[in-house]
């Protein structure tokens, strides 16, 4: 397996100006400004094989976008070794640019004043895309993202979601070897998000595109990636298969029980104690709903017996912990750890 991305001990620090508040602070800032160093990446190391799909997740300020910018050659790292498709991104930015496709959700590359088609054609020439390939990729994007009616509209007249769809297509027209997608589904509705994921999956199947994806919508990752890299304040918190991530952090599953009649407070307390004896945990108990968390599948029978004996059940469902909940729990643990 060829390595597409190799990152060793990558570090990047930003300098932030601290402004004193109010008018007085603004006047003071003319003569003197306090500055602080903010480490955005603290020795990040990982590698990605060609054809892999990696989801990069983390809280705001975790260093995801900074890592993306270093990987694409926009930012010069403070230290560390970095190779992307054999190039040192910072030094060989233009050579690398032809082989990668990039979407920065917050910074579209479409030309604001003219029709979408014009940017597509500009990219065709700049990226030196063969006519047959351009015909194939542009048709694919137009079909999957439903771009047909948008192609001749000036970009400034498109909605945020329409712009994002066109921007994603722009990054895929030259069938890049690596697609760096930084929040590519920002501003998209549910249907458009699904279309975007479909395009990503199709590009990977058809062209073997390596994918590096950051997003706050974890469904993007569970739908398109097999591997997750979790960042926390510039450091690596987890790097492994999505299934391992879920196995390690999603130990709990849930039973959600809807009741026929409201449950009395005293009965709720005693129910909690009995569930605990059988490996369960009463997560939530409102008058007509009970949520029970459990770790081992072997507890299900005993817990179900307790619930059936204690409650008048109208409906009962079993839920696996979703990615969103796992990550929320993980962040909460990190915040608590840092507070200690």
């Amino acid at each position: 397996m060829t390595i597409a991305i190799q990152v060793n001990d990558l570090r990047k620090t930003y300098v932030q100006n601290i402004k004193a508040p109010g008018l007085l602070g603004a006047l003071q800032g003319i003569f003197w400004q306090q500055r602080r160093q903010v480490p955005a990446l603290k020795g990040l190391s990982f590698s990605v094989n060609e054809g892999e799909a990696v989801g990069l997740i983390g809280e705001n300020g975790a260093g995801k976008s900074t890592a993306m910018k270093c990987l694409t050659g926009i930012l010069r790292p403070a230290s560390g070794d970095l190779r992307v498709l054999g190039h040192e991104p910072w030094r060989e930015r233009r050579a690398l640019a032809r082989k990668i496709g990039v979407v920065f959700g917050q910074r579209p590359q479409l030309i604001w004043d003219i029709a979408v088609r014009e940017t597509f054609n500009l990219n065709r020439v700049m990226y030196r895309v063969e006519p047959a390939l351009f015909a194939e990729t542009s048709a694919l994007c137009a079909r999957l993202l439903e771009l047909g009616p948008l192609m001749d509209v000036p970009v400034r007249q498109l909605s945020l979601g329409q712009r994002m769809r066109c921007d994603l297509a722009c990054a895929m027209l030259h069938a890049p070897r690596i697609a760096f997608l930084d929040e590519p589904t920002i501003g998209l509705d549910v249907l458009a998000k699904e279309q975007a994921r479909q395009l990503i999956k199709t590009m990977r199947r058809r062209f073997g595109t390596t994918l590096i994806l950051t997003t706050h919508d974890l469904k993007d990752i569970s739908d398109t990636c097999q591997r997750v890299v979790v960042l926390d304040k510039g450091s690596l918190l987890f790097d492994g298969a999505l299934l391992d991530f879920e196995a390690r952090y999603a130990r709990e599953a849930r039973m959600v029980v809807d009741l026929d009649a409201p449950l009395a407070l005293a009965k709720r307390r005693s129910l909690g104690a009995r569930l605990k004896r059988h490996g369960g945990r009463l997560l939530k108990s409102v008058p007509q709903k009970v949520v029970v968390a459990y770790e081992k599948a072997s507890s299900i029978q005993a817990l179900t017996r307790v619930l059936l004996a204690s409650l008048r059940i109208a409906d009962m469902t079993f839920e696996k912990t979703d990615m969103e909940t796992i990550v929320r729990g993980l962040y909460a643990k990190q915040v608590a750890r840092r507070a200690r």
Binding site: I74, L122, M126, P154
Partner: protein, 269 residues
Amino acid sequence: MLAELRAQLRAGGMLFARSTQRRLAYPVGALIDLASFVAIFGLTLLLWRAVVSQGNSLPMAWSELLRYLCVAFGLGYALEFGIYPFQQSIRTGGIAIDLLRPVPVTWLHLCNCLSWGALQAVYVAIAAGLLWHWIPDLRVVTDLPTVLALLVSLCLAALLQFSIFFLFAQGSFITQFGYGILYTRLSLHQVFSGAFAPVALFPESLKPWALALPFRHVIDTPARIALGMTAPGEIPILLAQQAAWGLGLFLLGQLIFDHFLGKAQIQGG
């Protein structure tokens, strides 16, 4: 090597076309721009006419000054191209997108500027055509060597103007706010380029500055070549000076840009 050059030229042609389309997307804005240019031009002519009619002796005849001002205004308008998007992109971090394109950032902005310049030159030609009756005696050089020298001088003036813009706009890397720096450029340009008065009419205290700075080679030099106001044997020297300034500042701008990029902070998603 040749294939690479051809590909970059092709990309440049496409960037030129797209930039022109962007400008044409706002015809009302362009018309207002042109109208303001004509108004400033008219006012400047009136001012100079008043100076001459008050009996002030100038080392240049009124008809000669009128011809100079017409050409200088045309050049000034055509070469006042928009590097502002570049400055703005440094300030807002939008430069990240420029850096992701597989063409040099300098080339990208040079093509944008040249397309603006070409379009504005067309506007100037239209305005000149409309005002032809009121500007008599606007004859320019016609002998082939001087016409060729003029074409070279115009190209060098465009390169020099771009290089000056590119250098000044990079001040945004330091100040984070480009206007102060860009207005400084505009002021220096308006005073020293010959846009409002030929350098030959400058007071003795200003002349050494005008001769030492590069700005006069943007307007005064090509205007003088176009109107045949140069001394015998002066044209090659002027072209050499223009080329030295243009290429020198272009390379300096490139060096500084590479330096700043290494330190640039493009924060936020």
